[in-house]
């Protein structure tokens, strides 16, 4: 094996910085084939996320981290993840049949946190982090006319941006509003579950920065993954279960009003 000085320095620096498995995987990640990296086995992963509404404080760090880590356009209407604030007024004993409409907002997708609002007497309030649910039976991949978006064997729904025709059918088909058209590439875009990180043994950017561990990434194929304990110890629900999408974002403390 012969290396010139430039190659030696590049490889040596990379080895020092990334060390171990990550350095071996880096070449594959650069080629856009992280799944081929020697230390990432697609067949032994089935990714899911546990989201604890009772722990989310609405700080928006997850939204910010996602934007920065994944180079997401800064505008709120291009969001891979966002946080919603729900304020649910109490039932009025004088008119218990009156419809209770939750007051929901997500200023700048929750990236800058939430400004105080006048208190509604007796109301309950909570934050709901949202991201792609990486559905097992994903309606978005079903409708893609060219198969540019797909669910990998590890359960992550991804988009091949070199193949996407930009018809936006997938955006219409997502019940959770998790997709958008990237104005720079004119292709669909969404949360990749930080695929470039999780295939290197790291967690997602949003989970990484969450100060309360309201978001926890887990591998359901690994019996020792803590997510199993979390799912066992909490009453969890997925969003819009009636649509049977096989959503893999499991929420603890999800109020029935949340859509």
């Amino acid at each position: 094996m012969s290396l010139d000085r430039r190659e030696f320095l590049a490889k040596g620096t990379m080895f020092l910085l990334l060390t171990g498995a990550a350095s071996r995987a880096w070449a594959f990640i650069e080629q856009g084939r992280p799944q081929d990296a020697p230390d990432y086995d697609l067949a032994t992963h089935w990714w899911a996320m546990f989201i604890d509404i009772e722990k989310c404080i609405g700080c928006g760090r997850c939204v910010d981290a996602c934007k920065v880590e994944n180079d997401v356009p800064p505008e709120a209407y291009y969001s891979r993840t966002w946080v919603e604030r729900y304020i649910i007024p109490p039932i009025d004993p004088a008119d218990p049949m009156a419809e209770i409409l939750p007051i929901v907002d997500s200023p700048n997708a929750g990236r800058d946190g939430f400004p105080e609002v006048p208190a509604v007497a007796g109301a309950k309030s909570f934050f709901v982090p949202k991201l792609c649910n990486h559905c097992a039976e994903s309606p978005c991949t079903q409708v893609c006319p060219v198969g540019a978006t797909f669910r990998g064997p590890d359960g992550v729904v991804l988009i091949d941006k070199t193949w996407c025709v930009g018809c936006r059918y997938c955006i219409q088909a997502c019940p959770y509003g998790c997709r958008f058209l990237d104005p720079r590439t004119n292709t669909a875009d969404k949360c990749t579950l930080c695929y470039h990180r999780i295939t290197r043994g790291l967690t997602t950017a949003c989970c990484e920065v969450c100060p309360t561990q309201a978001r926890v990434l887990g591998n359901l194929r690994n019996p020792d993954d803590p997510i199993h304990q979390l799912l066992k110890e909490h009453n969890v629900q997925v969003l819009k279960p009636n649509l049977a999408t096989g959503a893999k974002a499991y929420y603890n403390g999800l109020d029935g009003a949340v859509r």
Binding site: I103, V143, C167, G177
Partner: protein
């Protein structure tokens, strides 16, 4: 709370902008006209409705003209039109949109083009022998080398044409029913997600196709100085009336079902119909675009009116029908994106003018099929036998 201009209540952040524009409104509108015109044409060929025979060729050419332009709004809309061929080369078999490409191609190449070719073959052969210059070459190419127009050959043409029409009717049903399925199969969107959608699309296609051919027939007769065949016009109006009644009944069935069932989306959709869609749906589509033309057509069925009055009523009803069906497409496509899938908010459609998906390209795409038709009827005159023979010198008036 924080709201953006045009946004009311809460929308998911990615829902603020509409993804499907007026071009996607035009697309099902055009394919509907194709299917409707073809079904009208097949009335004569398969069901032997002799009264509509004068419009047979014109209806086929109308279908072809709209069919050739129908993919254009889709191409304009795509983020990467240069990759659109991938829908045929690497289709995703679970995608309604991908499979639609094949339905479209089948209909265009295996039904419409062959039927028109068979129908005009004697004319093509005649022109290949009598025309001059480039036109002669054009018609010679179209003969595909066959100059045999003997009675026996024409009889075979007729038989094959009949088989193709028989295949063509379910194909036309499939073509536009499938467009409805593209919307109706989206379970994420309750405004679209109904098994009635393909059926409603199909009948509205028949309605708009008949109305379009009726209007084009009248205009063509006027421009070509061909006398209007009133029994033909009356028959078309009758079919329009009955098809419209079925279409309206289906739409009302959908509406009544939604009101009665009142699922979780109902309040949101109901609010939208009473506010943002009130003008285009209640006033435009239902009152002016459906009830009024049905009423006008009903009058012509009930009363015995003079030819002139009938013609005026048909033109008015036809034009209102065309507008009503366009608004139906608008309300489906645009309306289906004005409310949040959280059922908690509403947004606004902001249409540009001279932008890629703005009003100007939309108008161009709407006018283009008429220009194509203008060329087609010049190349393949559809009603020559109905043109009165020119008066020769010495003829008595």
């Amino acid at each position: 709370m924080h709201t953006l201009p045009g946004v009311e209540g809460f929308m998911y952040p990615n829902e603020m902008e509409l993804q499907w524009s007026i071009l996607i409104v035009i697309y099902p509108y055009l394919t509907g006209l194709v299917a409707g015109a073809f079904i009208l044409a097949s009335l004569q060929r398969v069901f032997n409705v002799e009264a509509v025979k004068p419009t047979y060729r014109l209806a086929l050419l109308t279908a072809l003209a709209f069919m050739l332009i129908a993919p254009l709004p889709l191409q304009l809309h795509l983020g990467h039109p240069e990759r659109s061929l991938e829908m045929f080369l690497t289709p995703h078999t679970t995608s309604a949109m991908a499979m639609f490409g094949f339905v479209y191609l089948w209909y265009l190449l295996a039904v419409l083009v062959i039927e028109i070719w068979l129908e005009f073959r004697p004319y093509i052969v005649e022109q290949a022998q009598t025309a001059s210059g480039a036109l002669r070459l054009f018609y010679r190419a179209l003969t595909l080398g066959s100059y045999n127009v003997s009675p026996h050959a024409l009889e075979i043409d007729d038989r094959v044409g009949r088989i193709i029409t028989v295949v063509g009717i379910p194909s036309a049903f499939l073509l536009h029913g499938y467009v409805g399925f593209i919307f109706g199969s989206i379970k994420a969107n309750p405004w679209w997600s109904t098994p009635l959608m393909p059926v409603v699309f199909l009948f509205s296609a028949i309605v708009s196709g008949i109305a379009a051919v009726l209007l084009i027939y009248l205009v063509y007769c006027k421009l070509s100085k061909i006398p209007i065949d009133m029994p033909c016009l009356d028959s078309m109006a009758k079919y329009l009336y009955y098809a419209f009644l079925v279409d309206f009944s289906l739409e009302m069935l959908d509406l009544i079902h939604r009101i009665y069932v009142s699922d979780e989306s109902f309040k949101s959709l109901d609010f939208m119909v009473h506010t943002r869609l009130y003008g285009s749906q209640v006033v435009g589509q239902i009152v002016l675009g459906t009830v009024l033309p049905i009423g006008l057509l009903g009058l012509t069925q009930l009363l015995s009116l003079s030819v002139q009055v009938r013609q005026r009523l048909y033109v008015t009803a036809g034009a209102l029908t065309m507008a009503g069906i366009f608004l139906m497409r608008w309300n489906v496509v645009i309306g289906g994106q004005l409310f949040s899938k959280s059922f908690l908010g509403y947004t606004t459609y902001k249409m540009g003018f001279a932008t890629r998906e703005g009003l100007l390209p939309a108008l161009v795409v709407l006018v283009l099929p008429l220009l194509v038709l203008w060329v087609l009827v010049r190349l393949f005159p559809p009603m020559e036998e109905q043109r009165p023979a020119p008066a020769r010198p010495g003829d008595q008036a």
